[in-house]
Symmetry: C2
Subunit: 227 residues, 2 copies
DNA sequence: TTAGTATGTGTATATAAGACACTAACATAA
DNA sequence: TTATGTTAGTGTCTTATATACACATACTAA
């Protein structure tokens, strides 16, 4: 708070602060988001995993905590998205929520439905159910940001395992941008960006020429203008 | 809030929610930001104008309210920037602040120091004083966003008056990107983007050929890739 | 040995970016 | 009235980037 004269109003403010996570992954060439099924209140509705901020943690730490709670993962791509504050977004209380978005690699993660929820599932973003609160709106926003991120930064790396083929990488782009890309032009660009290095391994999967496996030479966030 | 099971924790949360505005303008080829001088607490320090959110307003409305309070302006470019939540960012209370950034046209606005502050001033962003709280950090973030915005969207329009010359437009870009641009290439791009229309007026200012005045054919926010 | 399938590669064309210098139209002063 | 100073306004050539497009390769399975 930057304005000391309003400190007196502190006592009056009655707003809660929460975080909601948009956790994305790409699987079989399709983009998925992690949803939970609510128990009490709005029971049975699907929603983004989230929760209140603790008094001593940053919002980012809260997002991280919830991500770990639901997926067991830490050290992932996690980025603040936007803070949603419509007064009526939560019918039970005035709750302002900062949305985060996370990218996790092709998730063979077993989702252990925490006791807090009735269910936890990966949903294809193309056919989402009606979600609780303003969560459909949040997801829409997150999808746009994801599209941008993957086009202009190296964020796609976070959606892939340690080693992967160029076709797998291309499928990640196609799933998120929702369109086919030309194989040769795609590889030219990836090559020019120069963040990949060839490994000596190949991946043989099906009755055809085996594919070379690549890995990232660095995982630092970078702005790269890929597509 | 998306998680009903934590509703019980509501009573425990003790966090205040504020907004801080980064209000930019360009004047005489230089980029300025609006700062206020604080009265009580951290007295004498300069800071971003801000304040607590009201229980019934969105954060955006709060930002709008504060912008109007300080500049008298409404209907300006105003956009959410980021939510800052370091637990120790305010030494007096746990306050989480959502920063907004605003662009206003060459400000012949008279700044009426509201009774809440000791002073209100435009500061050149190149030489800012030490600011209260984490506001230097916020401003740094805002500057980056501004640079991006002006390069990839038509946001620059918001920094100019109704009618303006191409040289004035170029100066806005140069001030924000902090580098000289080539006049002919700049005009070629602006022309290609196609958002300007010529007026029949000219502007004569000094002993030289008068400049044509232009105006925007639309002020809707657009992504345009200008520079 | 053949058929089927995904991998891997190059070139030519179109579009965009960047570097660069002179004439035009005004005010002012001699 | 003429000369000087000042910013406005314009075009071309070169280089880099983007896009469109087709065939040989290396494996499995029948």
């Amino acid at each position: 708070m930057s304005n000391p004269t309003v400190q007196a109003e502190h006592a009056k403010q009655n707003i809660k602060l929460a975080v909601d996570n948009c956790i994305f992954t790409v699987k079989d060439g399709k983009l998925f988001i992690l949803l939970i099924k609510m128990k009490s209140k709005l029971q049975g509705m699907w929603a983004l995993p989230g929760g209140l901020i603790k008094d001593t943690e940053t919002i980012g730490a809260a997002a991280q905590r919830i991500l770990k709670q639901e997926t067991g993962l830490s050290d992932n791509y996690l980025e603040q998205l936007y803070t949603f504050s419509q007064p009526n977004r939560d019918p039970f209380a005035r709750v302002i929520s900062t949305a985060y978005f996370a990218l996790i690699p092709d998730a063979n993660i077993e989702l252990k439905p925490s006791p807090k929820y009735d269910d936890v599932r990966w949903y294809p973003v193309k056919k989402l159910p009606e979600l609780a609160y303003d969560h459909n709106h949040i997801v829409k926003y997150a999808k746009q940001r994801l599209e941008w991120k993957i086009s202009y930064t190296n964020a796609a790396w976070s959606l892939l395992p340690e080693k992967f083929t160029l076709t797998e990488l291309q499928k990640v782009y196609e799933a998120i941008l929702n369109k086919k890309l030309d194989k040769r032009n795609f590889r030219k660009k990836i090559d020019k960006v120069g963040l990949l290095k060839e490994t000596k391994q190949t991946k043989l999967e099906g009755a055809h020429r085996p594919a070379k496996l690549y890995e990232f030479s660095s995982k630092k966030k970078k702005i790269v203008e890929i597509i």
